[in-house]
């Protein structure tokens, strides 16, 4: 029996998973459920990665990083019985409230007819165009959905599905056009375009006029809550409830999870991973290792370039990973009193996402600043008040406010994020107060998470919330590097299961599911004994 097989046979852990973010926990659950001995090691003191609920002030529990669910695949929720382990999802309706500087506002509802009436306030033509716009994205979802829980086929084969002029036109729109171009073709009013554009730049260092941003818009429209496509929602208790349910599932099926266990390096010998060494000095041997850590850290830091082909290393180094997100989490004494729809009593304007983005130009100019290493003077804000629908997260009469905002580039032209954290937080609140002036006094406590904090505390290289940009040039069989998109890596027995693998990020769970399936395939074929 070859030496490596003898050594691997002696390892008491079948699969070691690096990182207890949602994808790592999903992988752990599938593998443990299949009967493998699974051990998960997590650097932080809590599981969850960037899918966590944290108490930022006594009684105020916030989704400090990711803040809304919807993309988590229904198949995963069913396979892992997450409702049994406590996951309760509620969709947001109205989904969105957008105030405009001239005092008008609009809602986006689940009911498309109601949304049509909202859009008619700005343009009758746009109102009539909206159903066809929704149908386009429904059909987009029908094509993309089956690709999410499977390894990506070669891009040539995927593109080969689009035969004929009509299909090629669809492919062009889906992959190559900007969101702004698609919106300009379909709608005439700046307001309606602004309402619909924001998802096209979420978490991405690109603007609404960047080619490929149409795909990013579509990526955020393939959610499903309660069997209804395109819905977004909240998890009761915050996003930490998702990973708590996943951890519960993994433990139920026999996985071991350790927190406060940071990986210092992977142990690689003769072209294969043998396990990992923790910062404590403990060495864990395993028959396979699956990393939920982003590709740059996994390969350039933990494995080391010496164990990898030079071309692969260059591909990983070239990955676009610059983060652009600042998160401002607040405990507030009262709800926003929007100038566009006044009142601090709980109303429909407080239920869904409350977006500050009055036009496509506003969003594009916000991105302009980031191109040159500056914070946006007028940032885009995506606000969510979880407590408006879920009273468990705040003391009675008080509320939580999550503000996801762009653009705050990881690489600042001047200074560091430690110097500019509070200035950035002030800028965000100033912007919010232009639309809801009561918020400055309403804030009881504020937490500002910069791109550097996302890197240092939450383990995201350059603060990129998706491990690597989800622009089309880094998706499908390009992700993370062409030739290595099926979760296996150039190091034998080392796999990826994080958002840096297909189908990318957004608390979707696809990489965790697919990475686990790759391990199981190799396990059943006898390649990991």
């Amino acid at each position: 029996m070859p030496l490596i097989v003898r050594e691997m046979a002696a390892a008491s852990t079948d699969v070691l998973i690096l990182g207890a973010g949602h994808n790592g926990l999903i992988a752990a659950s599938y593998l443990a459920k299949a009967g493998l001995k699974v051990r998960v090691v997590e650097r932080r003191g809590i599981v969850g990665g960037v899918c966590v609920t944290e108490e930022i002030a006594p009684g105020f529990h916030l989704s400090t990083t990711s803040y809304s669910c919807g993309l988590l695949r229904p198949q995963i929720k069913e396979d892992l019985e997450l409702s049994r382990f406590g996951l309760v999802e509620t969709h947001l309706d109205p989904e969105k409230f957008v105030p405009f500087p001239d005092g008008r506002h609009a809602f986006v509802y689940d009911d498309r007819e109601k949304t049509v009436k909202e859009f008619a306030k700005f343009s009758k033509k746009d109102a009539q165009a909206y159903p066809a716009w929704c149908q386009f994205w429904d059909q987009f979802s029908e094509i993309v959905d089956p690709t999410l829980l499977a390894p990506p086929p070669p891009i040539a084969d995927l593109a080969g599905m689009f035969r004929g002029a009509e299909a090629e036109e669809v492919l062009r729109r889906m992959l190559l056009m900007s969101a702004a171009e698609l919106l300009d073709e379909t709608f005439e009013s700046e307001e309606v375009k602004a309402i619909l554009v924001t998802s096209s730049t979420i978490g991405t260092m690109s603007g609404p006029r960047t080619p490929g941003s149409a795909y990013i818009l579509g990526h955020h429209l393939i959610g499903d809550i309660g069997g209804v496509r395109g819905r977004w929602g909240i998890a009761r208790g915050g996003m930490g409830a998702v990973t708590q349910a996943l951890a519960g599932a993994a433990l139920h099926w026999g996985a071991k999870i350790e927190t406060g266990a940071e990986v210092r390096r992977l142990i690689v010998k003769d072209g294969a991973v043998r396990g990992a060494e923790l910062s404590s000095g403990e060495r864990i041997e395993a028959k396979a290792v699956i990393s939920n850590i982003d590709p740059k850290q996994t390969f350039l830091k933990l494995a080391g370039p010496d164990h990898l082909p030079a071309e692969f290393v260059r591909g990983i180094e070239r990955l676009k990973t610059e983060g652009s997100v600042l998160k401002v989490n607040c405990a507030i004494s009262e709800l926003p009193d929007w100038k566009a729809l006044p009142g601090t009593r709980l109303g429909p304007q407080h239920i869904g996402f409350q977006d500050i983005c009055p036009s496509i130009d506003y969003l594009e100019r916000a991105y302009d600043a980031a191109k040159y290493g500056r914070m946006s003077e007028k940032p885009f804000l995506d606000c969510l008040i979880q407590s408006a629908s879920d009273p468990t997260v705040a003391p009675p009469g008080k509320h939580t406010l999550s503000i996801f905002t762009q653009y705050f580039p990881y690489h600042l032209r001047k200074g560091s994020w430690d110097d500019h954290r509070e200035e950035a937080g002030d800028l965000v609140i100033d912007t919010l107060c232009e639309y809801a002036p009561n918020m400055r006094k309403a804030i009881l406590h504020r937490q500002v998470i910069t791109p550097l904090d996302l890197e240092r505390t939450y383990g995201l290289t350059e603060g990129n919330i998706f491990h690597a940009e989800i622009t089309p040039d880094q998706m499908f069989s390009f992700r993370p590097v062409p030739g290595w998109s099926e979760y296996r890596t150039p190091i034998d027995r080392l796999y990826l299961c994080g958002s840096g693998a297909h189908p990318g990020g957004g608390v979707m769970g696809g990489p965790g599911h697919n990475g686990a399936q790759a391990v199981l395939e190799d396990w059943r074929a006898g390649r990991l004994i």
């Binding site: 089956p146 499977a150 599905m161 299909a167």
Partner: protein, 144 residues
């Protein structure tokens, strides 16, 4: 492997239902997406299937063959195409009131570079398609 099954009652006597469902042309005409059925010989037919996936339309040719027949209660058939294989079974039970209970099961597997994606797609559709099969059979047999 994506799989769908359904059990339904047809208000028609067993022999008539058997005659209908042991005929590959008739079975093909009840499966949604089958646009054309070409009979090759008494046990073989070629189906042309068109499936709509979002904006895209996929056309496949599937050669179907009768594998087993135990008249008038059991039939098994298979279909082989470049991108998909399927195996279907039909089991009939005569009911006291003269109607016939039909149990239909279909297993489908995709092949090729897009196999796993097509499998995922079929999984989302196969339940609906087996139900449509049942509805079409009832419509054709109960209309006369």
């Amino acid at each position: 492997m994506p799989s769908g099954e359904t059990t339904f009652v047809v208000r028609a006597p067993l022999e008539r239902v058997w005659g209908f469902l042991s005929d590959m042309q008739q079975v093909g005409s009840c499966i949604s997406g089958v646009e054309e059925v070409k009979i090759v010989d008494s046990a073989t037919a070629e189906w042309t299937i068109k499936q709509k996936i979002g904006f895209l339309t996929k056309t496949m040719k599937v050669r179907t063959q009768s594998l087993e027949q135990t008249p008038p209660t059991h039939a098994k058939f298979q279909g082989e195409g470049e991108e998909v294989s399927m195996v279907g079974t039909i089991d009939l039970v005569a009911l006291p009131d003269g109607a016939t209970q039909v149990h239909y099961q279909m297993d489908a597997t995709a092949h090729g570079a897009l196999a796993k994606i097509m499998d995922n797609y079929v999984k989302t559709k196969i339940g609906q398609q087996t139900q449509e099969f049942a509805d079409n059979v009832k419509k054709k047999l109960e209309a006369v």
